[in-house]
């Protein structure tokens, strides 16, 4: 039985922008299971980064609850709260912006160790820093401890960010687009290292990306959740999502992505959207937010009711989807473009 380590229930989050209220997340419900690889994918503005911040407790939800190991994190106080803070860490996207340019690698990594009293004194911190650098393959360690961020390459900086996230021995790490800023040739090395960390350190990783191929590689034995305009529209086992996407948005996304193979990519069938315009979050259409673009849209249903994420009745696969025709058990019928 999968054991949830983080659960989101009915999470909403909105931001005020001038006089407008922007609903960034609406009714998000899912759990992250212990030691699973979970990827959240979606285009910009879908709310994946906000979800990541909410999981880490860096941002409170407007409503709804987030549970960490069964406890509502809004109710944590004192030692429990500090333990949650230590246990859930985030790795940001941009390794050029997220490291303090005036601190050496050693200073950056020692600070959380000493602040949380995880080591005894300078000597203890030094030993631990060396261990951490070895964990992220920045070896020989002596070459890196005294370096400043500007002396490191993008890939090396991101390894330092990962080492910093590991200082507090977290049980969950949220990696937000953590490899998108590094070159293709070194991306996979970073990902493989993060995947190894799960087995070596028992850490659960939530990986946030816009790149479905990367998500597939990272979470091959895990799950993918697809987000669109602030809602989770499909979540299921990675291999099912890739081979048999259920939600129209997932189908369209997969059909649109070019492949690194000339014959395959040129023969790929692209599903045409009804409209290329992405609705603004402040002017979301009624019903399903995807209906104005959806090629399988059912008038009178999709533009009226907001679909809930659930397992469709006659599904061949066990992905949960938020799609009205699918949940009625209907076959999807393509509209003429």
């Amino acid at each position: 039985m999968p054991e949830p380590i983080i659960e989101l229930n009915g999470v909403y989050r909105s931001f005020k922008k001038g006089r407008e209220v922007v609903p960034v997340l609406q009714d998000i419900n899912f759990a992250v299971n212990k030691l699973e690889f979970l990827c959240l994918v979606g285009e910009s503005g879908c709310g994946k980064t906000t979800t990541g911040k909410i999981i880490c407790g860096l941002l409170p939800p407007s409503s709804g609850t987030i549970r960490f190991e069964g406890q509502d994190i809004a109710e944590l106080r004192g030692a429990d709260r500090r333990r949650h803070r230590r246990s859930v860490q985030i790795i940001h996207q941009d390794p050029y912006a997220s490291l303090n340019p005036t601190q050496t690698v050693k200073e950056m990594l020692s600070y959380p160790l000493l602040a949380h009293r995880l080591v005894k004194g300078r000597r203890g911190a030094e030993t631990r820093v060396n261990e951490l650098l070895e964990l992220v393959d920045l070896t020989p360690v002596e070459d890196f401890v005294e370096k400043y961020p500007h002396q490191l390459s993008g890939g090396q900086r991101q390894r330092v960010s990962i080492a910093r996230a590991l200082t507090t021995e977290p049980s969950v790490i949220v990696a937000d687009e953590s490899v998108s800023m590094v070159d293709v040739s070194i991306r996979i090395g970073l990902l493989q290292m993060m995947m190894d960390l799960r087995d070596r350190l028992d850490v659960t990783i939530v990986f946030i990306t816009h790149d479905l191929a990367l998500a597939k590689y990272f979470a091959w034995d895990g799950r993918i959740g697809v987000m669109y305009l602030g809602r989770l529209v499909e979540i299921g086992a990675t291999q099912q999502i890739i081979a048999a996407p259920q939600h129209p948005y997932t189908k369209v996304l997969l059909s649109a992505i070019p492949e690194p193979d000339p014959q395959k990519t040129r023969n790929k069938q692209h599903i045409k959207l009804r409209s290329e315009d992405i609705p603004r979050l402040t002017e979301l259409p009624p019903g399903c937010s995807f209906h104005p673009r959806c090629p399988w849209y059912v008038p009178g249903a999709c533009d009226v009711d907001v679909p809930q994420l659930a397992l469709p009745p006659q599904a061949m696969v066990d992905s949960e989807v938020a799609c009205i025709p699918l949940q009625r058990g209907d076959e999807l019928v393509l509209h003429d473009a």
């Binding site: 285009e43 910009s44 390459s153 890939g155 070159d183 293709v184 040739s185 070194i186 991306r187 996979i188 090395g189 970073l190 493989q192 816009h210 790149d211 479905l212 191929a213 990367l214 597939k216 590689y217 091959w220 291999q239 890739i242 081979a243 369209v252 996304l253 997969l254 649109a256 992505i257 070019p258 492949e259 690194p260 193979d261 000339p262 014959q263 395959k264 990519t265 040129r266 692209h270 959207l273 290329e276 315009d277 992405i278």
Partner: protein, 338 residues
């Protein structure tokens, strides 16, 4: 000027460029040669810092001030007249840019003047190149905006902030080809755009190229984009073209360990688990590049010869050249793996 085959629009011979910096000379481009045919789409692929952008900036003479072209020529042909781009006067250069060769820079979102309507920006461009008939400009602009699948009347009278990122990118493509250039250079045309917007841009580019018959040079770190759009692919490493060939040659029969390394580090959407490997190490410092083959410190096939001698591009077939001492070893190991 040397005669070029009638099909050739651009030929680059032995182009070498150095950036003068306080720390020493950065050898950003070394003996780069290639030929671009009419209607051809060529992709330059490679890691950041490999020199892709330097090569393309040289083609329109937009290199930064501290760059010096130390060697080579860039021949451009239009209607049987050949010019060396490096020898153009200021006035000739102004005519050459945009009329003959247009560049669409990375981050198109910021390329427009935010306080001018799109119409004004089309008109300014046309007027700067001696075209004053506003009615004719409008007609041409609207037909191009339609070609990039936008609502022409609306977009033409809009301010940039009224358009989404993908719409701006498409408007910029239309503006790029306003003066019917023969060569369009695209620097990371789809980077920073969303998946569905990327798809729209790729489709639009294909349509435009089919109708307007220009040649494309595009710079991308996205191998999938190269696989989909390019006729020819050139792999750039440490300022050199290390392999160049037809898109199928590069993707199915790559002969350079660096190209092969790039290909095996890219995840796919196929319904099977990817077995991927990243290239060890990082790109070299171009102030003091490694001896011999510049890739040898990162290459699993490197031998003493690779450290000592720099391999030249050698033809494997009419369309496919690679610079590697150990092509056969790469082939053998690929066959073993397959």
């Amino acid at each position: 000027m040397p005669a070029l085959s009638p099909e050739t629009v651009l030929r680059v011979d032995d182009l070498s460029i150095v950036y003068r910096t306080d720390r020493g000379d950065v050898r950003a481009t070394n003996d780069v040669s290639f030929e671009l045919k009419r209607g051809e789409a060529m992709a330059l692929i490679g890691e950041s810092g490999s020199g892709k952008t330097t090569i393309s900036l040289a083609l329109i003479r937009k290199l930064p001030k501290n760059a010096v072209v130390t060697k080579g020529q860039i021949l451009y042909q239009r209607e049987n007249t050949v010019q060396d781009v490096l020898g153009l006067s200021r006035r000739q250069l102004q005519a050459f840019r945009w009329n003959d060769c247009a560049m669409v820079f990375q981050g198109a979102q910021n390329a427009f003047n935010p306080v001018l309507k799109i119409r004004k920006q089309f008109e300014d461009t046309a007027r700067a190149h001696g075209w004053t008939d506003k009615v004719a400009i409008r007609k041409r602009a609207l037909s191009l905006l339609e070609l990039v699948r936008l609502d022409p009347e609306r977009v033409y009278e809009s301010f940039p902030h009224e358009l989404s990122g993908g719409m701006k990118q498409r408007t910029l493509l239309a503006l790029g080809v306003l003066l019917s250039p023969q060569v369009v250079i695209l620097d990371e045309p789809t980077t920073a755009l969303d998946i569905l917007t990327q798809r729209a841009i790729i489709d639009v580019l294909n349509d435009m190229q089919r109708q307007l018959l220009f040649s494309i040079i595009f710079i991308s770190h996205d191998l999938s984009l190269a696989a989909e759009m390019a006729d020819t692919v050139a792999t750039v490493y440490a300022g050199e073209i290390v392999e160049i060939g037809a898109v199928d040659d590069i993707f199915y029969r790559s002969l350079h360990p660096y190209t092969y390394g790039l290909l095996t580090s890219v995840p796919t959407l196929e319904h099977a688990q990817d077995i991927l490997q990243s290239i060890p190490g990082s790109p070299p410092n171009l102030i003091a590049p490694p001896s011999g083959c510049k890739f040898h410190p990162r290459c699993s096939f490197a031998s003493e010869q690779c450290q000592a001698e720099s391999p030249q591009l050698q033809a494997e077939s009419a369309s496919h050249l690679a610079a590697c001492w150990h092509k056969d070893r790469l082939l053998a190991s690929r066959e073993e793996g397959a």
